[in-house]
């Protein structure tokens, strides 16, 4: 690949937080018209580095040169003016405004009378940007009514409308279907060919070679290496990221299935679930595959008593049970690791110990009084067991990295000694090292005679970890496969609603 | 580090603000050796008490005392008035002149002042005699107008003005307030011998102007025939006046107020109100301070000093 001129140079970037060095003398060089991957485990410093580039966080030391000019980037506005635009994983859109209003938010074209907005021109220009991207979205549509992929396109159009030279995308594909990803990549290539530099953060290793030109690996707040992707093997990158070689991606250990722990028959929720039946046995890991919106999370919530149901019966350990609240489900030994750990799994403002013990506080308290000694002892054991990286047990979980937060949620259910575990996207947004640890843990749980229902959108994970695979399509179970007979093609076939092979 | 710097900054700011207040207050009390007299009124957002404050200020320099004037933010906040007086006792003022927010609620703190050897003069609203006696408290004097008498004067005037026939609405103060109760008793006693004088509505508007407006508006809805009104204070009367104007009935309802606030006097002059009872708060403030100074020189005041009532019409 020929040498293109550097568009962005970040040199010696350092950022300290009280007690922590987040970035230590990091260099990053990005060329005009390339897709530059930024790899690293959670907590490696990628997000901080990108926030500095976007003007959202101020660096303590270092220089940033954009297009030959030294840039201070003291605020997001300055960054915008310098041609930097960022699309966060959680979009920055105002849901009740229209597409055009969002694209031009803060920069509305003025009408003749000061203070009024030239609506027609705004919508016309928005339309133009969207057309350039090759997407069909009405500029007067309300953002809230759009799908995730469409909202993302609005974000891209917004970036284009400020003539961004550098576009940062943080996990842009995490919520997209394969079809949508293909379309997104097409748009990214269009932008690249127009000379835009794209900095791309993702945990999905398979995307590297599909779309990337170069990659920079970070670890522990430092720059480790920058490579051309054409000449670099995936395993080498993983080794660089983790700092150690990973022998096995999916360390599946098969355990013979035991007695039935959970039986669900005809579970119904109008418009969402249409008569779901399934069983879980001791020692079994059952994968639950399906497209976004197929009802997997809804099924998990219904079993767990978090959402009301309109029909169906549930047996736990052979006895019929009425799971009408999470409390009732937990009492019978269910545990639910939610998809969104920040919104549903953790109390971010509480410390590691309190979160670990939250679901089983009765065990550590007598007459309503909590024993900190007992609590700490169990939290200490579990965090050591799960290798949670935390300075101490009183660290607030908000300060932990994503992988470590997920481990704390796991610790919560281990503390509760739950036997029937529902894991909803257990490795989403987690670095490779932590992923493997979570897989190993799932193995261990199965070996101990527990049952795991694992919802996942990552096909290799489903195929690699499950004893049995269920595929959902529009609120129904569309197919069931044993680990031996399942293939990616068969599962996809079911998931999109074609007849099972 | 940044984090430890900020609290400091805020502290310094707060301290600066305080020090500023301290300096501003410095030239009033402390230091000169002249005795310090504190006037504690109900609130300083009622013109009645501002007049009282002005009367007191005018008297203070002549009497050779330093004056501190304090009040709660709300007229009904008896606990806050109590706190203010407690703090002034701590500050060791030489004498207290108090307009009680609550006749009974003032008693415990009068007892406290007694124990600290600080004489207490009560102005405007009496301290409840029975409660005071039960608690063993003492006041040096009461300086004020006879509210009963004032109510009576108002009632007699209305009887004469209406020729003995009227459908009357009454706006009361806060229920249980000695001041308001006495005014109403006086008013009712004055009209009770005229069978044509009928009270068709009597509602509390809690001494407040906006409540006077609302309550009277409601009364006009319920009793469209109302043709006269007595308000236990001018603020309520002035509120009602606005309600009458808004209903386009100015001049058709005869209004008698109480307190003779400047605004009410003006209303009387232009004919919007028929009369208001003048209590002369400035004199109360003046006499209160004068007697405080004389007590400190060893003189003994009479138990009651009456400030004469006039009808402004």
């Amino acid at each position: 690949m020929n040498e293109r001129p550097a568009l962005l140079q970040m040199q010696g970037i350092t950022k300290r937080y009280p007690g922590v060095v987040a970035l230590e003398e990091v260099d990053l060089e990005v060329r005009r018209g390339e897709v530059h991957f930024l790899l690293g485990e959670n907590g490696a410093g990628k997000s901080t580095l990108m926030k500095i580039l976007a003007g959202a966080v101020q660096r303590d030391a270092g220089t940033i040169i954009i297009d030959g000019c030294i840039s201070e980037l003291r605020s997001p506005r300055e960054a915008n003016d310098a041609g930097v635009s960022i699309i966060y994983q959680e979009f920055n859109l105002v849901p009740h405004l229209t597409v055009a209003e969002n694209i031009f938010l803060g920069r509305e074209p003025a009408a003749r009378l000061p203070g009024l907005i030239d609506r027609a021109r705004m919508e016309q220009e928005a339309q133009q940007r969207l057309t350039e991207l090759g997407v069909v979205i009405r500029p007067d549509a309300v953002v809230d009514d759009l799908g995730v992929a469409e909202q993302q396109m609005v974000e891209v159009a917004k970036a284009l409308s400020i003539d961004a030279k550098i576009l940062i995308m943080d996990e842009p594909t995490s919520a997209l279907t394969n079809q949508e990803i293909t379309r997104l990549f097409h748009v990214i290539r269009t932008l690249r060919d127009r000379g835009v530099a794209i900095i791309y953060i993702s945990h999905r290793m398979e995307e590297l070679h599909r779309i990337g030109d170069r990659v920079t690996v970070m670890r522990d707040g430092r720059h480790i290496a920058t490579r051309e992707l054409t000449s670099t093997h995936l395993n080498e990158l993983i080794t660089l990221m983790v700092g150690r070689a990973l022998t096995e991606h999916f360390p599946k250990v098969a355990v013979p299935a035991g007695e039935e722990l959970l039986r669900v028959e005809g579970l119904k929720r109008t418009g969402v679930l249409h008569g779901i039946s399934l069983t879980l046995h001791r020692g079994e890991v059952v994968g639950l595959a399906g497209l976004m919106g197929s009802g997997r999370t809804e099924l998990a919530r219904a079993i767990f008593g978090a959402d009301p149901v309109d029909g169906g019966r549930i047996w736990v350990r052979g006895k019929e049970a009425k799971l009408d609240s999470p409390r009732a489900a937990i009492a019978l030994g269910l545990g639910f690791l939610t998809e969104d750990r920040k919104r549903q799994g953790l109390v971010l403002g509480l410390d590691v110990t309190a979160n670990t013990c939250l679901a089983n506080l009765d065990r550590f308290s007598a007459a309503g009084i909590v024993s900190p000694g007992q609590e700490m002892a169990v939290a200490k054991k579990l965090t050591a067991d799960l290798r949670v990286k935390t300075p101490d047990l009183h660290q607030l979980v908000v300060n932990l990295s994503g992988g470590n937060q997920q481990k704390v949620v796991l610790a919560k259910w281990l503390c509760r000694e739950a036997e029937i575990l529902i894991f909803d996207e257990p490795t989403r947004g987690i670095d490779v090292g932590s992923k493997v640890e979570i897989y190993q843990l799932i193995n261990r749980l199965a070996a101990e005679g527990k049952a795991v229902l694992m919802i996942s959108s990552e096909m290799p994970e489903i195929l690699g970890m499950s004893d049995r695979i269920l595929v959902m399509h529009r609120g129904s179970i569309a197919g069931e496969f044993s680990a031996a007979e399942a293939t990616q093609e068969k599962i996809l076939h079911c998931a999109v609603g074609a007849k099972a092979a | 580090m940044k984090t430890s710097f900020l609290p400091l900054l805020v502290t310094v700011l707060a301290a600066g603000l305080l020090a500023g207040c301290g300096r501003q207050a410095k030239d009033a009390p402390d230091g000169s050796g002249r005795p310090v007299v504190a006037l504690v009124v109900k609130t300083l957002n009622n013109p009645f008490f501002i007049e009282m404050q002005q009367g007191a200020e005018a008297a203070a320099s002549a009497a050779g005392v330093q004056l501190i004037v304090q009040a709660a933010e709300r007229e009904v906040d008896v606990e806050r008035q109590m706190q203010i007086i407690e703090n002034l006792i701590q500050r060791k003022v030489d004498a207290l002149v108090v307009a009680p927010s609550g006749s009974r609620e003032i008693v415990p703190v009068i007892v406290k002042a007694n124990r600290a050897g600080i004489p207490v003069l009560v102005v405007d609203t009496r301290a409840d005699a029975a409660a005071l006696q039960a608690a063993g408290g003492q006041t040096a004097a009461f300086i004020g107008s006879d509210n009963y008498e004032g109510g009576k004067v108002a009632g007699e005037f209305l009887v004469e003005k209406m020729g003995g026939r009227a459908r009357i609405a009454v706006l009361e103060g806060i229920p249980g307030h000695e001041t308001g109760d006495a005014r109403l008793r006086g008013f009712r006693d004055a009209i009770k011998d005229s069978p044509g004088m009928v009270i068709i509505a009597s509602q509390p508007a809690n001494w407040e102007r906006d409540q006077g407006y609302n309550v009277f508006q409601n009364i006009m809805q319920a009793h469209p025939t109302v043709d006269a009104m007595f308000a236990a204070s001018d603020l309520m009367a002035l509120g009602a006046l606005e309600a009458i104007a808004a209903a386009g009935r100015t001049g058709r309802i005869t209004i008698v107020g109480f307190d003779a606030l400047p605004e009410a006097r003006a209303a009387v002059q232009r004919g919007a109100m028929a009369a208001t009872v003048a209590q002369d708060p400035a004199s109360m403030g003046r006499i209160g301070i004068e007697w405080a100074a004389r007590i400190l020189k060893g003189e003994i005041p009479p138990d009651e000093i009456s400030v004469p009532i006039q009808l402004v019409k």
Partner: protein, 315 residues
């Protein structure tokens, strides 16, 4: 490693404490009357009512709620107790009745919020009016006054030189701190305020605990009314007007986040003391009551500014 970490976590409380100390220092320089045992006890007594109400609000606000009705509940509890005393009920029973009325009103708030799914702002706004009206109704708008010496001892008595109300306040704070830090009730309060969904999915009986939190808040307002009534020797149906705002201010100055999930009882005590010391100091200095309001407002804003700065610099 351990101690600096703990220091950093409690930075906000140390900040509040520093403000308190500097405030006291400045006032004692400006006036000689401030730093005497009798005045400090005086300040403590004046802080009691606000401080006790603010404990309840601290719980409510940590649970990401708000309670605007405490001032009215205080009035209602007070007059019910006053009437019970007047009717010749034995002292402990009458006091229990007052606290029970407060707890009951709080429980109704809790029911409306937890089971009726009303926003706390609306439910307690309604209760603010209902309880005030009820207080006026049962008394016909007149204060209930004239109580026995044994009842008044609750306000005027001393135990080993410490005024009884101050003693009650200390007991309430010790208990409230213990409950918040060391019991399930306290832990769940934080969990509900920090992330209600996560608490629910962890099996916390969220609605039951919410009910409990508002009931406790109402009960503490009832307790405050006992002391206030003894102090004034009168139970007024119009007592406690805008006391909810004072209590919210004390809580916020003390570093409890209005977003919920974060806060401390110790901070609230400091917040209430800061307000008490400010009012006392400004009275001692003879500052006009108008300026006093400006200063107190400025302190509230400064406290929340401090909070925002601390939060941002952590990120």
């Amino acid at each position: 490693m351990k101690i600096p970490n703990r220091l950093a976590r409690n930075a906000r409380q140390f900040g509040t404490f520093a403000v308190f100390v500097v405030l006291c220092a400045v006032i004692s320089i400006l006036t000689p009357h401030f730093l005497s045992v009798s005045n400090l006890l005086n300040v403590a007594q004046q802080t009691v009512i606000n401080a006790i109400i603010a404990v309840g609000l601290t719980y409510v606000i940590i649970s990401a709620g708000i309670d605007l009705s405490v001032g009215s509940i205080l009035a209602f509890s007070g007059v019910v107790m006053g009437q019970a005393l007047g009717a010749g009920l034995p002292l402990p029973l009458a006091i229990a009745a007052g606290v029970a009325v407060g707890t009951g009103c709080g429980a109704v708030n809790g029911l409306l919020i937890a089971y009726g799914r009303l926003p706390p702002f609306i439910a307690t706004l309604g209760m603010m009016s209902v309880a005030r009206g009820a207080a006026l109704l049962v008394t016909d708008g007149r204060p209930v006054s004239g109580f026995s010496e044994s009842f008044r001892w609750l306000a005027t008595g001393e135990v080993m030189g410490v005024p009884v109300p101050v003693l009650i306040m200390i007991l309430v704070y010790v208990a409230a701190h213990f409950v918040l830090r060391r019991t399930k009730f306290g832990r769940y309060t934080f969990a509900i305020g920090g992330n209600e969904e996560a608490a629910l999915l962890s099996g916390v009986p969220v609605r039951l605990y919410k009910l409990g939190i508002y009931a406790v808040c109402g009960g503490l307002a009832g307790l405050a009314s006992v002391i206030l009534t003894a102090r004034l020797n009168s139970a007024q149906p119009i007592a406690g007007l805008s006391y909810e705002l004072d209590a919210i201010a004390a809580t916020v100055i003390g570093g409890t986040s209005l977003m919920g999930g974060r806060g401390s009882v110790v901070g609230t005590l400091l917040g209430a003391l800061i307000m008490g010391v400010l009012r006392n100091g400004l009275n001692l200095l003879g500052v006009s009551s108008f300026i006093q309001q400006v200063v107190i407002g400025a302190v509230i804003i400064a406290a929340v500014l401090l909070d925002t700065f601390l939060k941002n610099s952590k990120r």
